[in-house]
Symmetry: C2
Subunit: 202 residues, 2 copies
DNA sequence: CCTACCGATCGGTAGG
DNA sequence: CCTACCGATCGGTAGG
């Protein structure tokens, strides 16, 4: 934890970090304020010096730690001369992220299961301007792409990782052949082949 | 409700139906036994004549109403001369199901968010034999398919609907152009193009 | 003696 | 930031 922060802000961050870890593991309603306080090293009532309610903690976390921050950062940082390279590199970066913190997509699932998505519209308003540059990138290379609306392309690409994540969890930690290493690379390959007019021979 | 059932069984089914509806709307920990009882037309304590605990209710529901029943029934019932027709018909049936009961995939999200997937492995054991015939179908038409492991194909197809569902919720009920009618048809089109060696001209 | 269920209440914990 | 505590409600069980 950053020692240079004012003490109050440090405590606030401790609470957020504790809540984030607990919510991802137990869900929102499965986590008590007492658990959060204990993990943050506080007395139960002290959280309310920093947040008005349990819901308020979720609202902050959903804004500040929504997976879209991570996904957009990846999309911004990866290079690629062609749209194909760009998508492959982005997918590879997503694989790496999912390995590093396998649960970071869970934020979205918690919002849907426990809040019925009530915080989603305002989040979309925030995201939308940040998505436009990438839609632009698809549009600028439209000649290489099949005739599919660009927003659908983008949605389909993002959906790929949810598809991979949820089916992975559905298959569980079984040894069935259906669950094998490298599947995501193959998911991406199916997507690229489905989206590009022609694929380079590789 | 079936009047021919013995009264005890009828009550049991009322409880399961009430719990199912409430869990899909509020999540597991967000639903109280009292709410379930009220919706089933019972006194709060009476549930315990039929189930030992709240968890026991979830375990039954996760077994009996898991989306895989629905998905496998669709796959069994739809026809199609070619693998392409089969996949398109199956996808169309899934679209219809998602329109009729938009939340039926939520079961899986609740299990992941609120139970960390502890009930998944035993469910997979039950499913696996029922999946094999469809894998077989892919294998029998392998000559029409690109060189992708069949289990990955199947997983990718199932994942398509989760991808569509979750990105739909992420986009919320906004009027943004990214969310448009017919997107799922286009998702399926991308998948088919990504999976088939050649697509019929249409 | 069984089932299905009641009103009331158990020990603990929820958010505040 | 803590201790102490509230109104209410939690999941689960009592006797009849």
């Amino acid at each position: 934890m950053d020692e240079t922060l004012p003490k109050g802000e440090r405590t606030r961050q401790n609470i957020l970090q504790a809540a984030y870890a607990l919510f991802l593991n137990q869900g929102f309603h499965g986590t008590s304020m007492r658990q959060i306080a204990a993990r943050a090293g506080l007395a139960p009532g002290s959280i309310y010096n920093h947040f008005n309610s349990k819901d308020a903690i979720w609202e902050i976390l959903f804004q500040e730690r929504h997976p879209y921050h991570h996904v957009l950062r990846i999309l911004r940082e990866v290079g690629g001369d062609t749209i194909e390279d760009f998508l492959r590199n982005a997918a590879r970066a997503m694989v790496y992220s999912l390995e590093q913190q396998p649960d970071f997509l869970k934020m979205m699932f918690i919002e849907i299961v426990e809040f019925n998505g009530v915080h989603v519209p305002s989040m979309v308003k925030t995201i939308y301007p940040q998505i436009l540059p990438f839609l632009q990138r698809f549009i600028s290379e439209e000649d290489k792409l099949r005739d599919i609306p660009v927003p659908v392309l983008f949605r389909s690409f993002v959906g790929l990782f949810f598809s991979y994540y949820i089916t992975g969890l559905m298959l569980g930690n079984t040894d069935l052949p259906i669950f094998q290493e490298g599947s995501l690379e193959q998911f991406v390959d199916i997507f690229l082949h489905g989206v590009l007019k022609q694929l380079e021979v590789r």
